[in-house]
Amino acid sequence: MNLIAHYASQLINLCAAVMLLLAFAMLAQRRVIHVIDLFALQGLALFLSTMVVAFKTGQTHLYYSAALTLSLKVLLLPWILHRLVRMLHIKREVEALINIPTTMLIGIVLVVVAFNVALPIAQLSASVARGMLGIALATVLLAFLMMITRRKAITQVVGFLAMENGLFLAATSATYGMPMVVELGIALDVLIGVIILGVFFFQIRDQFDSLDIHHMEKLKEH
């Protein structure tokens, strides 16, 4: 336990770096199933970093939000998404609007921007993990990029969830978590959001025989 306390801030940094790495892995990944698995892994990294922050700072309510992360983002949501993929018979590769190497290069630029933006803010902060703000911002931007560049609805939903991961990381690093009410509210929102989107997927597929959201640009009122 002493060892964890000693290496706490380094462990948090490591978890944050792993989250960034997984965000890039999601951008590079071509298969929907693997994107979901990577999202679950990112949730696991977030859970670990929240646990370490909670241990280091003694903020008990962070344990609850860590448990919430574990149950929701590592177990429940990936399970729902896997089920959706299976029921919708999505076996195809992820279709990206921009080819993957270019996406990665844009991602690097986003990381540089995020780090630069976060640097002056981080210097004002006095919390354990001030360097993490840049990483959290980069994770949010990368998830955003994933939502923009992917054509299929399901990867966009994963991008949305990954963005929430980044926001959560920013919250733990900057202010040791949000108030419990806010956190519970967000968790519930995300859960309900995914369930509603799951219903939407079926509607979109019934309408167009595909999950490609480009078909929706041509929607007309009859």
Binding site: L14, L20, I108, M132, G134
Partner: protein, 315 residues
Amino acid sequence: MSATGFFGQLFALVLALLLAPLLTGWVNQCRAWLQNRAAPPLLQQYYLLHKLFHKDVVLAHGASPLFRFAPYAVFGCMLLASAIIPSLSTDLPLAPAADALALVGVFGLARVFISLAAMDVGTSFGTLGGRREMMIGFLAEPALLIVIFTVALIAQSTSLATIVETLAHRALNIYPSIAFAGLAFTMVSFAENARVPVDNPATHLELTMIHEAMILEYSGRHLALIEWAASLKLYAFSCLGLALFFPWGIAERDNVFALMAAVPLLVVKLAIGGAVLALIETVNAKMRIFRAPEFLGTAFLLAVLGMLVNLLLES
């Protein structure tokens, strides 16, 4: 220059020459085991070198002196590279001659020579191999350089000896950037050593070969030198990886006892590294050549991320 340093350097050189074919043999053996094939003997590379050194050289018509000189140049470059990488001790008299950046240049020089020699005879295979090698090389080099920059930022020096001393003899810190850099370095060394995701060293199929296509015209002692140089390159890259990412056990200056202890440790580390290499080669399929830029682009990206993370989290 101390006497220990001189003998340490000499010892490291001899060890590199002797261990390099053994390492290649060990990787081949592990690969065969993992693929349920009957494994070649561990000393197969030595038999091969012995056989090739006793054969006559057949030169193509119109081969220029460059063609004959290239194997010696490549071998010399690889020997120099394994001499300046601190594998056993950081007290290397040759090490101040070249830092990590020059090391990348030495690898580049060898690459230029072998590609030129491949194009020299004028066969289509040689040209094809030379071009592919240059493509892989120009993608792998920036990634390797940035990996080295990342580690150099931590040690505040590009000298390999200083980097190893800083990393090995300092209180244990967790550096996320080292993890990124290590991943990128692994990917680069697969490309540089003509290993499976990028190139298959065991094939002679024109669609897939890169390294083999370049050396088709070589025979006799020239081929032996090139094979030995390829083994030395694998050894040098393994030692560089061990020195940068697993530097524990590499002896400090003027310490004979630590130098002696470093030898078995190095052998064990190389054996584990070779087994891991064989495992990665077995579970991966050979990529199409046009996927190689993407693979190396990912390595470059990881290296840049490592550097950025270093600047943000560790400075």
